[in-house]
């Protein structure tokens, strides 16, 4: 959750701007997992999500010094992340096996049946997400999976709150249709 780390990130950015290059390493350690989480919603495989995270961090490094603070730092990072994910998806346009994508992050101490069930659910949810349009996908990822408020999402995506609500409801309706049989 980038929003909760905002103050820490701002402090580190100030250090980085003053010439402390190691502050960037701390920023990476602080926000990399959040970026990977968002990227993983778009990218299908964890490895692709990590690659996208690297691209995002690269962009952040190059532009942090010129960041004027017109918007909140978390809003800016979210925007860069979403744009980079869309860019990576366009570049790839190849489908990765979902089974392969999900196996790595399952905990080993869960019962086998439960694990299989959960894995199936993850596949169904990811497939349902793929069925959504890009607009709906952006909104549902930021709202449902990232837990942001509607006004924050409207800042990130640069559109009105009513538009976000409409896309959210449409996305949830579509998810509901797709996930009718989820256990």
């Amino acid at each position: 959750m980038l929003r909760h780390k905002e103050e820490q990130v701002i402090g580190l950015i100030e250090k980085f701007r003053c010439g402390n290059d190691e502050a960037f390493d701390e920023i990476v350690r602080l926000i990399a997992s959040d970026i990977v989480n968002i990227a993983y919603c778009y990218m299908k495989s964890l490895e692709d999500a990590k690659d996208t995270c690297q691209d995002v961090l690269l962009k952040l490094y190059r532009r942090l010094k010129s960041f004027r603070g017109a918007s909140r730092i978390s809003t800016w990072i979210y925007r860069v992340t979403i744009n980079t994910c869309i860019d990576s998806l366009r570049k790839k346009k190849t489908t990765v096996s979902l089974d392969e994508a999900i196996t790595k992050d399952e905990k080993s101490d869960i019962l086998v049946t439960e694990r299989v069930e959960r894995k199936d659910n993850q596949i169904i949810i990811r497939k349902a997400l793929e069925m959504l349009s890009l607009r709906q996908k952006n909104v549902i990822i930021l709202k449902h999976f990232e837990g942001l408020k509607i006004h924050q999402i409207s800042e990130i995506l640069g559109c009105s709150q009513s538009s976000i609500k409409t896309h959210l409801v449409r996305a949830l309706d579509n998810l509901r249709k797709e996930l009718g049989g989820i256990k």
Binding site: V28, Y40, K59
Partner: protein, 186 residues
């Protein structure tokens, strides 16, 4: 209170309504079994629709950091420029993707604004030329038939009235000539 729409129930789930509305819906859900049932279904579905979040280990973070540093060592101006242009284009795309329905409306407006003045001016041009031609034909002694000349001779004010009713500025040029000619004939 009327039964809640699905949109309200979704927003209620995320607590994205005003406090008073939240209370009203909460009370309604206690009283209305069908809405309550619908909300329970939504709640169950959304609670179960969660993606597992991968936790990065220290070695993963180190690897990411090392790769970023490696890439940063040789940044070229051209790469940065291309990256910036791409991001600007993506920002534009992201903004437009939410306002895509406005594009056909705006395009239609632009086309109307571009074409309409041309259409109007060309019509006016044709009308104007036609008026001049008509006046010149009437004033030409060679092309006017005998009856019209006699009519003008007997009562020149007919032509003057007709011409002034056309209201074209060029008439003022021709009117003195008409008067002169008719007075000569008189």
């Amino acid at each position: 209170m009327r039964c809640c729409k699905r949109k309200k129930l979704f927003l209620f789930y995320y607590r994205e309504l005003k406090k008073d509305k939240l209370k009203i819906i909460e009370e309604h859900l206690r009283k209305c079994p069908s809405c309550s049932n619908e909300y329970k279904n939504i709640e169950t579905l959304l609670n179960r629709t969660r993606l597992s979040k991968p936790q990065l280990e220290t070695k993963d973070l180190d690897l990411i950091l090392r790769n970023v540093r490696n890439k940063l060592e040789a940044p070229t101006f051209w790469e940065a420029f291309k990256c910036r242009i791409k991001e600007l284009a993506q920002n534009l795309y992201l903004g437009l993707s939410f306002r895509r329905q406005l594009i056909p409306v705006m395009l239609t407006l632009v086309i109307i604004l571009a074409v309409f003045p041309l259409f109007r001016s060309s019509r006016y041009q044709i009308e104007k030329e036609f008026d001049i031609l008509q006046i010149e034909l009437e004033l030409s002694l060679e092309n006017t038939d005998q009856e019209s000349i006699f009519e003008i001779y007997e009562d020149p004010s007919i032509l003057e009235d007709n011409m002034s009713s056309l209201g074209h500025p060029i008439l003022h040029k021709y009117l003195p000539i008409v008067h002169k000619e008719t007075s000569k004939l008189g």
